[in-house]
Symmetry: none
Subunit: 226 residues, 2 copies
DNA sequence: CAGAGCCCTAAGGAAAACTTAAAATAGCAT
DNA sequence: ATGCTATTTTAAGTTTTCCTTAGGGCTCTG
């Protein structure tokens, strides 16, 4: 876990750096806004602790530049007591958290934990099967990067099969998961939809296992992927 | 944007609720921990403002229960001046931000903006989706630099969709976040407003996903994803 | 090679979404 | 307060989408 500490007060800097290192972080120190901006731009930090009253370039400006450049690293801002209007502008510039000096080191550490935890919790479950990708959060799928245009049932079918890829899935199982209880057992909808799906993602990708069901799998030449 | 305000002081509650509503939020109020826990459990809020000194069940306990149940709604905690050890335990219980009483309403609003924005995964204070821009601070939006003239509901609709762009958002989700508890479920307001928004920002930008909802996305030539 | 299992196509029909206009409500200034 | 305007909601009519059905042809297997 690597942290950028942008703070000009030498005493506070030394003390904070020590505490952070004790807590297991790797710490780089920037004594002014110019250095802070440069480091934040070039190095991949997990979090930045940014004092607003920095020499050369002030903290809010540094932050604004980063955000304008698309940096999303979490930033915790330090500010002097009572300068609450700084806070407002800092937040609106894209800060993720604030701390007023003087503060207890323990509180800073707690806030850091919260920030990093939050930033890391951004992993989204993306289903992949060869060149086929499905993002359940976005309700969207693609083949070889090309977005797929799927109807509701087609999507649900693909979703279920991606969740259970490489396994043979019976027609009954599919029906049970795609429809509610009462559904005409001897209907051929599943077959029809298999046909449509195949047409959209490539026939080869869904194998028919006669008498048992269907299996979704990557193409032969794709198997090595992920 | 729908918010739960859990605060027992009647004066402060009234004043805060008014300020929040002025700022365009839909606000539900819980005067004690029991009510707060119940509402937070049943309604989908975009953010919770939680006083630690609540009657019946105290704030930290309420928060702990939510987190144990897997709730990830951002929570901003209000606490009395000087009780900083509360903060630490509150953070570790899963709070996302802290504010010490007394505070400036403007600061609370700034922190709320930051929280909501962060929860949606945006570091930038300015929401961008292709040629559409929305500045939550100024409550302004534009298309290709051209300022948009939006009514209150149109704006809130666009705001919510920009926070969750590229994701399919159901009619239900929209209704739940744009209105408070009692709203007629089978009404077609959302459809009507989608029509109006589309007329203003361009039909292509809002894709309807039949049976699921709507998705706001950049135009084809503006960006490609997945 | 016969029969079961599967695939394909096209069209009917129903649900979902869109459009429009008018009624209801809220907001604002007089 | 009162009326005027802007906004929101309701409601009805229209269009679009796509789920389902059914029938003929194909393929695999015993």
């Amino acid at each position: 876990m690597r942290i950028l500490l942008a703070e000009d007060d030498p005493d506070l800097s030394r003390q904070l750096k020590a505490s952070l290192q004790d807590a297991g972080y790797v710490v780089d120190h920037a004594p002014d806004g110019e250095e802070a901006h440069f480091l934040g731009d070039t190095e991949p930090y997990d979090c930045v602790i940014l004092d607003l009253g920095l020499p050369k370039i002030d903290g809010v400006s540094v932050l604004e530049r980063w955000r304008r450049d698309g940096k999303t690293t979490p930033v915790l801002i330090l500010t002097a007591r009572g300068a609450w209007s700084d806070k407002v502008s800092g937040f609106d510039a894209g800060a993720d958290d604030y701390l007023t000096k003087p503060f207890h080191t323990e509180e800073l550490l707690a806030r850091l934990r919260a920030l990093v935890r939050r930033a890391a919790g951004h992993a989204q479950p993306l289903l992949v099967c060869g060149g086929v990708r499905l993002d359940p959060r976005a309700a969207r799928a693609s083949v070889n990067g090309e977005p797929l245009r799927l109807t509701s049932l087609e999507y649900r079918l693909l979703h279920y099969m991606m969740l259970h890829q490489n396994r043979v899935i019976s027609r009954t199982e599919l029906v049970e998961h795609l429809y509610d209880q009462d559904f005409d057992r001897d209907s051929n909808t599943i077959e029809v939809f298999m046909g449509r799906l195949r047409k959209k993602i490539g026939t080869e990708r869904i194998e028919t296992v006669r008498g048992l069901g269907y299996r979704l799998k990557p193409l032969h030449n794709e198997v090595s992927e992920i």
